[in-house]
């Protein structure tokens, strides 16, 4: 009896000291709502799974705010161990040599093995350097996919289109059946960046910006891209496409209410849409143009990655590496995939979800990952452009002007290319 009690006391004392001695690491992120809660749950799982490290997640608002806070903190030496940075901000943090410890180096140094091929194709390059070394650890990954209003299709007697040509053929029937054929939620991500990836067209010089920041210029006056927006404008005038401004939800709402036939959203929208959609829906890949040669490649990964900030002790870095390992384990990936709708980033996690029968139950959840696993083209690996959040703002502004009739498509892209190139040149100066 006494032995038992003393053993229990000893264990208690030991566990108490070990939790006291745990290395604290922090994780700043830009997620809110349900996605923010899931981050807390993952952190809790990590803290329960081991006792050497104690991870504290902190929400910093939006993606942009998280990056700005991370930068401000870094400048004053108060940076967190892990910072979540979104796709458009990747160039800012990766080009700041010395701000981060590449995830791959960190993991190897901590004694783990790292296999790039364990990750699905679409995920592998976006946050990596030009040699393919992982700088950021892909975290919440999404693809722009097309959600389909099943009722509308049945009523109009059409099939979900694979290409924009097929969409053009189906649109009049959908309109006649009383639906808005097409809405979308982010022209920059869905119709610009991923127009280049899905149709396998070069987005910027210097290998889409991966090779160097010096003299990188945009290629947004590409005739195919101009054609895409000419089409969108024409579709809008004919009532085949509706545009409600740059706000994501203003455009999504029309689809949720069952008024639109197709909505281009994010694979990560799936979780929320299940609750809000007032009609049965399915999903398919983001369409491409059949007329463009070599089109139909995979899309860029969207979402955000986790970066290990530099200037931390080896002990803390080891904890970060342990956490990255934990995060990419199939079980956690599967949990995250199911809880949020973001895609699983490793092949093992994808297989686990398949084996578990998840996609039989929820076929929509598989669309994003399948699109990312499509064959890659030369130009579908990613882009690395400095001051890209500002370039996106210029695009948003000009696109708004196109659809409010303040400018023409041609002029809009000339402006975007000119102002965008000015920003890229400016960025090259700051990085040089």
């Amino acid at each position: 009896m006494f032995k038992k009690i003393s053993l229990a006391a000893f264990t208690l004392a030991f566990s108490a000291t070990s939790s006291l001695a745990a290395t604290d690491i922090t994780w700043w992120h830009g997620m809110a709502g349900r996605n923010g809660e899931v981050i807390n749950e993952i952190s809790q799982k990590f803290n329960e799974a081991q006792s050497a490290c104690a991870l504290t997640p902190v929400s910093k608002g939006t993606y942009e705010e998280a990056l700005a806070s991370g930068i401000a903190a870094f400048r004053s030496g108060e940076q967190p161990n892990i910072l979540q940075v979104f796709d458009a901000g990747a160039a800012t943090i990766i080009n700041a040599k010395g701000a981060v410890v590449p995830a791959e180096d960190l993991i190897i140094k901590a004694g783990h093995t790292f296999d790039r091929n364990a990750f699905i194709d679409g995920v592998r390059y976006f946050y990596a350097d030009s040699e393919g070394k992982f700088v950021g650890m892909p975290f919440n990954s999404s693809a722009p996919i097309m959600y389909v209003n099943d009722e509308a299709l049945k009523k109009a007697g059409v099939e979900a289109p694979k290409t924009w040509e097929e969409f053009e053929a189906a649109a009049p029937k959908l309109k006649a059946a009383g639906y808005i054929p097409l809405v979308q939620s982010q022209l920059t991500w869905q119709f610009t960046e991923n127009f280049f990836s899905r149709n396998n067209i070069q987005f910027a010089t210097n290998n889409n910006g991966y090779d160097s920041v010096v003299d990188t210029t945009l290629k947004v006056t590409d005739p195919n891209l101009i054609m895409m927006f000419d089409k969108l404008k024409a579709w809008k005038d004919e009532g085949y496409f509706a545009f409600y401004g740059a706000g994501w939800n203003d455009n999504q709402k029309v689809f949720e209410e069952g008024k639109a036939a197709f909505w281009i959203g994010s694979s990560g929208s799936f979780g929320g849409l299940q609750k809000t959609a007032q009609m049965p829906f399915s999903a398919t890949f983001l369409p491409y143009w059949n007329a463009i040669e070599g089109a139909g490649t995979n899309s860029f990964i969207g979402g955000a990655a986790l970066f290990a900030m530099s200037g931390k002790t080896d002990e803390e870095n080891k904890c970060v590496a342990d956490f990255f390992q934990f995060l990419t384990s199939p079980e956690i990936q599967y949990f995250y995939h199911k809880a949020t709708g973001y895609v699983a980033i490793t092949k093992a996690a994808y297989e686990l979800a398949q084996k578990d029968g998840y996609y039989k139950e929820k076929p929509v959840a598989e669309v994003g990952i399948k699109q990312l696993m499509l064959p890659a083209g030369d130009w579908s690996k990613g882009y690395r452009l400095g001051f890209y959040p500002q370039i996106r703002e210029i695009m948003e502004r000009e696109y708004g002007r196109i659809f409010s009739g303040e400018t023409t498509v041609k002029d809009a892209f000339d402006t975007i290319e000119k102002e965008g190139n000015d920003l890229l040149a400016r960025f090259a100066k700051t990085a040089g």
Binding site: T92, K97, G98, G245, D250, E396, E406, K429
Partner: protein, 331 residues
């Protein structure tokens, strides 16, 4: 509530600005009334004592105003990578880049129009309501409370409420306008968004102006009003020739406050109205500083913009004090 309003800066004999000026002296036993000569000649036992009392305030101003301003001026001459690894001196390049940009000048033009309209409507509607509320005898406390409480709403919340009124899908104002054949598209159409921003910003500022104008009106001696009433039958003319000149100090103070409000404090309203994506919507200069600095991580460019903004405010304040205040008579 009545006592509450009477205790506002513009107490009986004084005016808003006088009240502020004598505020510090009041603490040392000076009389509360502005313009009281004795109060202005308070003597301290040691010549350093006043500086000691001022020190905390000066320290705060230095830390939160001068220090960041100096830093902004400094970084406006540099091109810097966001993480602070390297910065290059570029001289005036950040300024010339900004001032050469057609977009920036467009935003500056909108800011000027926006500020003028918001200030004009917020002041005139506030004044109208104050004059009317001042005339109400029965139940005036409840009228005043109803008019004042909007002021308690924080700007982002005001923006959110305004956004709901102007929502493309469910906004009641949008529905109402559709009756008259006007299809308001906030977030899509430049002038519609501008209209919504101005309406919400004005609405938010009216109560503040109302409070000051009302206490200003209550500060006008009854004897003056009665004398004026004997001389002139037209209430409208009496207002223009007697009441308004007596309100001038309050109005001048409010003019400065409202211009500053429209230039800077409407940030929250704008941020909520454009929903984080300015796109082709109108924005003000302050919002542009935020977009380039905090979201675009272009520290040099946004510092140059904030220095330009500082200069604008500086010039505006000098102008107001030199040319408008001359026409204002304090007592």
């Amino acid at each position: 509530m009545t006592t509450g309003t009477e205790r506002l800066p513009a107490t009986r004999g004084g005016t808003a600005t006088d009240g502020r000026r004598s505020g510090a002296l009041r603490l040392f036993g000076g009389k509360a009334k502005g313009g009281d000569e004795a109060a202005k000649r308070v003597q301290f036992s040691s010549p350093y004592l006043p500086y000691l009392f001022l020190a905390p305030q000066l320290a705060i101003i230095f830390v939160f105003f001068y220090w960041p301003s100096i830093q902004a001026i400094q970084s406006s001459f540099y091109l810097e990578d966001p993480f602070g690894f390297g910065s290059t001196f570029v001289g005036m390049a950040n300024y010339t880049d900004v001032l050469k940009s057609g977009e920036y000048l467009g935003i500056a033009r909108f800011t000027a129009i926006f500020t003028a309209l918001v200030t004009f409507f917020a002041l005139s509607i506030g004044l109208l309501l104050a004059v009317k509320a001042d005339g109400v005898i029965r139940g005036n406390a409840s009228y005043k409370t109803l008019l004042i409480w909007v002021y308690a709403i924080a700007p982002p919340v005001a923006g959110l409420i305004g956004m709901m009124f102007f929502d493309q899908h469910i906004g009641p104002i949008v529905e109402l306008a559709r009756w008259f054949g006007w299809d308001i598209k906030v977030g899509l159409n430049y002038s519609d968004t501008a209209f919504a921003m101005i309406v919400v910003s004005v609405w938010k500022q009216i109560p503040y102006n109302f409070i000051f104008f009302l206490s200003g009106l209550q500060g006008i001696p009854v004897a003056v009003r009665e004398a004026a009433a004997m001389d002139c039958r037209s209430g409208f003319r009496r207002f223009w020739t007697v009441i308004l000149p007596l309100l001038a100090p309050t109005a001048f103070f409010l003019l400065i406050i409202n211009v500053t409000y429209a230039l800077f404090d409407t940030f929250g309203v704008i941020d909520v109205m454009v929903k984080d994506k300015a796109a082709n919507n109108p924005i003000t200069l302050v919002y542009k500083v935020y977009m380039d600095g905090f979201r675009g991580n272009d520290l040099g460019g946004s510092s140059a913009q904030s220095v330009i903004l500082m200069l604008i405010v500086f010039v505006l304040t000098i102008f107001q004090f030199r040319f408008i205040e001359r026409r204002v008579h304090y007592n």
